[in-house]
């Protein structure tokens, strides 16, 4: 996760996790799922994720909050893939491409340092112009701050380095494409 999140979790020494920890990460599950498949389909997926988290809580090897969040988002990712396989969710990342989301971002920008809103629009453009799995990789890396090892696990890549290279290639490809479009 992001660098400003605590590495250690003093509230859960030895990795004993409970209701409060799950409630704490639930907004992250919501944003992780809704950023990829939207709230309409996402509600069921979040529910399935929460049930799986509660059921598997005693089996998690997470020792820190960061590891716990990584474990939870890994489950959420599996549930999204299940939903895609069962075909009741057809597409990824549409929610971020909707004009209404940009309006929402625009309305939330007061108090932000200069340039962040423009950067957010640029990021949405990069995501919107990328194809699967680049679009979700960029979401996982830039929105959800997943580390390379976590991304490697979710996408079945051989190593954290392979995940890093994949993100670099995705960024490179979409930037090249946007540059070509600009030059047309």
């Amino acid at each position: 996760m992001s660098a400003n999140e605590p590495e250690e979790d003093p509230s859960s020494p030895g990795g004993t996790w409970g209701e409060a920890d799950i409630i704490e990460v639930t907004p992250r599950i919501n944003s992780f799922v809704y950023s990829k498949i939207g709230a309409d389909h996402g509600e069921d997926v979040v529910q399935e994720t929460l049930l799986a988290v509660c059921k598997g809580l005693s089996r998690t090897k997470a020792k820190t909050k960061r590891q716990f969040l990584g474990w939870v988002l890994g489950i959420a990712s599996n549930k999204i893939n299940d939903a895609l396989r069962r075909k009741y969710v057809h597409s990824l990342v549409e929610p971020l491409e909707e004009g209404s989301f940009l309006t929402l971002l625009e309305a939330s920008q007061s108090g932000l340092p200069p340039g962040v809103f423009e950067d957010a629009k640029w990021l949405l453009n990069l995501i919107g112009q990328s194809r699967y799995p680049c679009n979700t990789l960029l979401i996982d890396h830039f929105l959800h701050s997943l580390e390379h090892d976590e991304i490697a696990e979710i996408y079945g890549l051989s190593s954290p380095d392979a995940a890093r290279m994949k993100i670099v290639r995705c960024l490179e490809a979409v930037r090249k494409m946007l540059k070509r479009k600009e030059n047309l």
Binding site: I22, P27, S31, K55
Partner: protein
């Protein structure tokens, strides 16, 4: 472009922008009462299932050791 793109100023700005986007989504979709209730119920159920499994396991162990004791006595 090099692999260092992920350590570049642009990547740093994109991460800040990404955190802003995530924050907006999280604000729009906070934890609902339905989700809180679901977590509570699911944990209660998981605990009950785990206790039942533990008791079953203990029962099986007790039966097993009784069987072993019997078998040892018979063989004597």
């Amino acid at each position: 472009m090099t692999d260092d793109i992920l350590n570049s100023e642009e990547a740093r700005k994109l991460r800040i922008a990404g955190a802003f986007i995530r924050h907006v989504i999280e604000k729009k979709h906070p934890v609902t009462e339905k989700q809180r209730a679901l977590i509570k119920d699911a944990l209660t159920q998981a605990k009950a299932e785990s206790q039942a499994a533990g008791e079953e396991n203990q029962e099986a162990k007790t039966l097993d050791s009784q069987e072993q004791r019997k078998s040892r006595q018979q063989s004597r």
